[in-house]
């Protein structure tokens, strides 16, 4: 199966926050940060949809 491309649209302030987070050693780069966010958020919220999606 092929990958699906999602084109995030981010402004300079949002990118700055990402870059400062990366500078703390949280992830290697912007793409790695998004992947980390997706994994951690999905793990933390996988039951939310069944509970009505309030989050």
């Amino acid at each position: 199966m092929t990958d699906t491309i999602v084109k995030l649209r981010l402004n300079q302030q949002q990118l700055e926050l990402m870059d400062r987070t990366i500078a703390q050693g949280v992830a290697a780069d912007r793409i790695a940060l998004v992947r980390l966010a997706l994994r951690e958020y999905a793990a933390a919220h996988k039951g939310d949809a069944a509970k009505g999606g309030a989050r």
Binding site: T4, I5, L8, R30, A42, D48
Partner: protein
Amino acid sequence: MTSRQVISEFVMEPGTGKAIELLKGQILRIEQVEGGQCADFNCFNLHDYKEFMHCGRTRTVHGFHPTTGTFMWSAPPRERAMLYILEDTVGRNDVLFPRCSAYVYEAAYGFAVHTNCHDIQAEAQREYGLTPDDVHDSFNLFMCTGVDEDGHAFMTRQTTRKGDYVDLLALMDVLAVPNVCGADVMKTSNFALKPLKLTVFAATDADLASVPRTPTLASQRTPKDFKNPAIKSDRPLRRDPAYKPEFPNTPIVVTELPIALTPEELAMFKAVKRTDIYGDDDAAALRDLLFSWWEERFLQAHAGAPSIESK
């Protein structure tokens, strides 16, 4: 200093208020004389009245009922802790309701004249040259309030007793202006107006040591940082023909960041993405996920409120 020294005492009679110069390191005690009385409260930087207490900022940091261990903050762009609630024997204060006003009593009750917190505040502040327009949103001590299911603020009776008090420690030199709330036809003060006692103490070393440190940040700006530091001295508003907008961080520029999601990642994304808000706009849903994750992992304060822990 190991024991508090009384600097002054004053009793506010019903229908009145009192402006008090409260210097840094002094405590203002607002105390029930009979019980059951709401106090409205304003506070200004004694050396620059344009810095004043901001209920909006205070309630985002501390909630609707600030009590012992919380601060009263000044409005943006100053955003400094002006006062610290050192002690509160009741624990039910309010930053939801505005001050009552003459309009309320005329419109709802038909009074041509009635004691009201706005006019009482204005009269007390007049001693220091302030005008009725300078009265700001009120911190309401001993006022028992909440929010009902349809989103309206409500007030109910209070259970304070004689001797109950709130101690406010000044973290800067301020003009503190409490008043006896003028509402005797509402539940605010249990349908009667009663006096309140004011005592100013010098804080002890233990009092001062109990105050948590708050941040000192570049964003806490003062007139020396303003593009226009002059206080406007007349009433009409006129356009400045030399004005050139200098909004920070503009223009806002959007950049695309392509993310290649593996089938496994796509499945994770589909399981949690907010289609109820973003429909089939996966880019917006993934951006939401990214910053929602960031808030959950890194934000120390409630969303929209500043962190007040000093690093």
